[in-house]
């Protein structure tokens, strides 16, 4: 075991305990915002449940930090259920989270579209309904790299998840009721599209080995957030060319109104430094304007990651006045904070 541990460039004790120990650290760093229920393996907003407030929970495999635990707090999530690294949590976690945050106004489950997440959340929602809690579920599927079809698993949920959690979280904080909050999550998902690229594989702590082998000078186009290879491998070109591919993929699918205000979210996959993310944002900003939309809001940083993968994704959300206002509303979580 010790030998396996040492064959990684990671700060770990027992690989099997990495998620639990990281969650404990998160709660130790932010006791004013969250608490960690170790038995249920969930992160819960400190003052949950809030009577009369619609609650939002999300969850999925770990390895995407700060998603989701780092987004628990004022104006965003009420709880997060982190599974093992890249593995969906189990229904018991989701049920525990749902019960911990329900203030009587209902609970929205924000579910990324992966078979595991969808199935486990489905079982949990059934259990919650059995216990008399009103639950709605919205599946996020914004990844244009995956072809959408009735006969397949459909598109993955990626960057839009962060935006939906922030925006719907603001609606819930503002007193919107269950149907309205649910609708906001759906609207964000409807009006957002993403595309990601990788310059390296990541190394899951359990195996200690890269998932795929990507030689230097190569790039994976159309990756998700679980270290899976992309749709296509290509030669690594200039950042400007890569951004061309990303913007084209996202915009051609989103088809925003000409002149639309958009939120441009340049996300790092965990191992790409801010120096490069801002360089990418510069290209994205120019290209979106050239494509006839206005990047009226932006978010640049590593918010939905794939362990230490080198790579980035672009998410574009078409805004309207309501979504813009909710985006601007105060948020205070470990990873996202403004106005509070």
């Amino acid at each position: 075991m010790a030998v396996e541990t040492t064959h990684m460039r990671k700060f770990l004790n027992e690989p099997a305990r990495v998620v639990k120990e990281s969650l404990a650290g998160l709660a130790a760093a932010h006791p004013d915002l969250v608490r960690y229920d170790a038995a249920a393996q969930i992160i819960v907003r400190r003052d949950a449940p809030r009577k009369g407030k619609v609650a939002l929970i999300s969850g999925g495999g770990s390895g995407h930090e700060p998603l989701h635990g780092g987004f628990v707090g004022l104006g965003m999530l009420d709880a997060a259920c982190p599974g093992e690294v890249f593995t969906s949590p189990v229904p018991a976690q989701m049920l525990a989270a749902t019960k911990a945050v329900d203030g009587g106004a209902g609970v929205v489950h924000i579910v990324k579209n992966y078979t595991g997440d969808v199935l486990n959340f489905k079982l949990a929602a059934e259990d919650a309904a059995d216990e008399g809690i009103k639950v709605t579920s919205v599946v996020i599927d914004d990844d244009v790299a995956v072809q959408d079809s009735l006969y397949t698993a459909g598109r993955r949920g990626v960057g839009a998840t962060v935006l939906a959690e922030k925006i719907a979280g603001a609606a819930a904080e503002g007193g919107a009721e269950l149907a309205k909050v649910t609708d906001i999550v759906k609207r964000v998902n409807d009006r957002a599209r993403s595309f990601g690229v990788a310059l390296s594989s990541c190394v899951p702590p359990a195996s200690g080995k890269p998932i795929f082998d990507l030689p230097e000078g190569q790039i994976e186009l159309g990756i998700g957030i679980h270290g899976e290879p992309g749709r296509k491998r290509a030669t690594l070109g200039h950042a400007a060319e890569i951004v061309d591919v990303m913007v084209e993929a996202v915009i051609s699918d989103l088809k925003p109104r000409s002149g639309a205000k958009v939120l441009a979210f340049v996300n790092g996959m965990g191992g790409t430094p801010l120096l490069e993310l801002y360089l990418l944002y510069g290209e994205v900003d120019k290209k979106l304007r050239a494509a006839g939309v206005e990047p009226a809001r932006n978010l640049v940083g590593s918010y939905i990651t794939s362990l230490e993968m080198a790579g980035a994704s672009l998410t574009v959300l078409e805004l309207d006045e309501e979504l813009s206002k909710l985006w601007d509303a105060p948020v205070h979580t470990p990873a996202l904070r403004w106005g509070a």
Partner: protein, 210 residues
Amino acid sequence: MDAATIATWMHGIDVVMREEKDHLVQLDAAIGDGDHGTNMTRGFEAVVQALNADSSSPPGKLLILAGRTLVGTVGGASGPLWGSALRSGGRVLGDQPTFEGMQLVEVLAAALASVKDLGTASLGDKTMVDALEPAVETLRARLSGGASVADALGDAGDAAEAGMRSTIPLQARKGRASYLGERSIGHQDPGATSTALIIRALQRAVAQAS
């Protein structure tokens, strides 16, 4: 066959999953996220523990306990799929203390139905269904044709392995591998692989029982 058969089966799965863990991880790394071996190992380790603590339940209840344990410990796609499968299979047996060959078919058929219902996958989508469905059909056909349970399970195991290999040239339509599009072609599905191992473990458990 009785509760001991189920317990032996589950033990057998636990052992073989640990043996094949790295292989399943590799298969999943190629077209998924590299955790299938860890998921199945974690799940069946917990199943064995749960069953060790239960020495009195009838076989159907043990299957339900095993399924519930999988749902509660695995996560991922395979957890709810195999978890629901074993629960559905267990319900077929009710409280009866023993069961015969054709009832075993109904157990596995219910498991298959549950997987297909929850996961909405059909034959040819490059999932565990591609191993499980031929196994169930072969078992039913061979038993109806008069074969012994042992022989029929041997053929079911062969069918499961053939189904497992049949996933190699397929393009995935369900699960994570579907994200790869054409790049999923040429790789064997990890879930179909572990399914074939599960059927082989059943064959060994029944052989031991008789």
